[in-house]
C-alpha cells in the first residue's frame, strides 16, 4: 500500500489528479476490523468534456510508467486501484472535501471520515452496507454522533437511517 500511495501522491504532485481521498472498503477498514476487498477506491475530481468525465490523463500517465490495467482498475504496486469520480451525489462530494488526513507508513493520504462512510453506506443500502454500519457502531469509537446526524439530515437520509436501526 505504501508504494501505491506514493505513486498516487506523485500523480497529485505532477498535476494528473487534484486532491484525492480513499473511500470504500479500505477506508472502512481504517476504522473497523479488516475484511476482504479486492481493490483500493480513490475518489478524485476529474476533468470533464461536456457530459463525460475524462479518465484518460490518469490512464495515460500510469500506463506510460509501466502500470497495467486490470478490468476497471490499474495495478499500482500490490493493489488494483480504481479512480472514481467524486462529483456526484453531493454526499460524496462532501466526503471527498472533508476527508481525514492521515499518514500510512509515513506517507500522507486522505481517508473518508467514519461519519461520511456510514452515511454513504446508508445511502447505498445494500445488505453488506447495512452490515458494515453495524460493524462501525460495534467497533469504531471515533464516530461523532452529532456530526453523523447532521450529515444524514442534510442529505435526506434520516428515514433510511431509522429503518436500518429498526432492523
Amino acid at each position: 500500500m505504501e508504494e501505491t500511495l506514493k505513486v498516487i501522491n506523485q500523480m497529485q504532485a505532477d498535476g494528473v489528479i487534484g486532491k484525492y481521498a480513499i473511500g470504500g472498503a479500505i477506508a472502512a477498514i481504517q476504522y473497523v476490523e479488516p475484511f476482504a476487498t479486492q481493490d483500493l477506491d480513490i475518489f478524485v475530481m476529474l476533468p470533464s468534456e461536456g457530459p463525460f468525465l475524462i479518465l484518460d490523463p490518469i490512464y495515460s500517465y500510469l500506463t506510460a510508467k509501466g502500470y497495467s490495467t486490470i478490468g476497471d482498475a490499474i495495478q499500482i504496486g500490490d493493489w488494483p486501484v480504481q479512480f472514481l469520480p467524486a462529483h456526484h451525489p453531493p454526499l460524496l462530494v462532501e466526503a471527498w472535501e472533508e476527508a481525514n488526513e492521515i499518514t500510512y507508513a509515513s506517507v500522507p493520504t486522505r481517508v473518508f471520515t467514519p461519519e461520511h462512510l456510514i452515511a454513504i453506506m446508508v445511502q447505498t443500502g445494500r445488505h453488506k452496507d447495512i452490515a458494515r454500519v453495524r460493524m462501525f457502531f460495534d467497533q469504531c469509537n471515533s464516530i461523532d454522533d452529532e456530526r453523523l446526524m447532521e450529515i444524514l439530515q442534510k442529505h435526506d437520509l434520516l428515514d433510511k437511517w431509522r429503518s436500518i436501526i429498526r432492523q
Binding site: Q30, E33, A36, H127, R132, Q139
Partner: protein, 136 residues
Amino acid sequence: MTRNLEFEEIFARKEAQRKELAKLPFEEKLKIVMRLRELGNAKRTGKIKFKKPLPTRRRKSLGPSATMVPSLLALRISRLGIEQQKLSSPESGLTVVVAPTLTSQLSVATDRWMNHLKAPTSSLWLSIRPNYESDS
C-alpha cells in the same frame, strides 16, 4: 440451556476478538486484507476449492437444528458465489442471514470462519484447511 449458554459465551468471545482486530493499526489490518485477497485469488484460479459440506455425523454434534446450518451456508455461498476469502472473513458472518431461530447455531457455524482471523500468521491459514482442499 447449557448449550445455549455455551453459544452465548462463544459469540461474546468472538465479538470481543473482532473488536480487538478493529483496534489494530491500519497497516496491520491491510496485511490481513492482502492475505484474504491472495486466498480469494487462489480460489478463483482453482488452486484451492470448496470441499463438500461437512459430513452429517459431525453436523449432528452441533445440536438439533445445526444440521441445517452448514447446508444453508453452503447453499448461500454457492448461490451468491461468495468467495473463499469472504467466507473466512467476519463479513460472512454478517451477510449470511437465516431465520432468527437459527441465530445461536449460526453464530457457532460462522464462528469457525471468524476464528481464522485471530492473527495474520501462516498457521492462521492452515487452520482453514479442514474445510477446504487443495488441488495439489
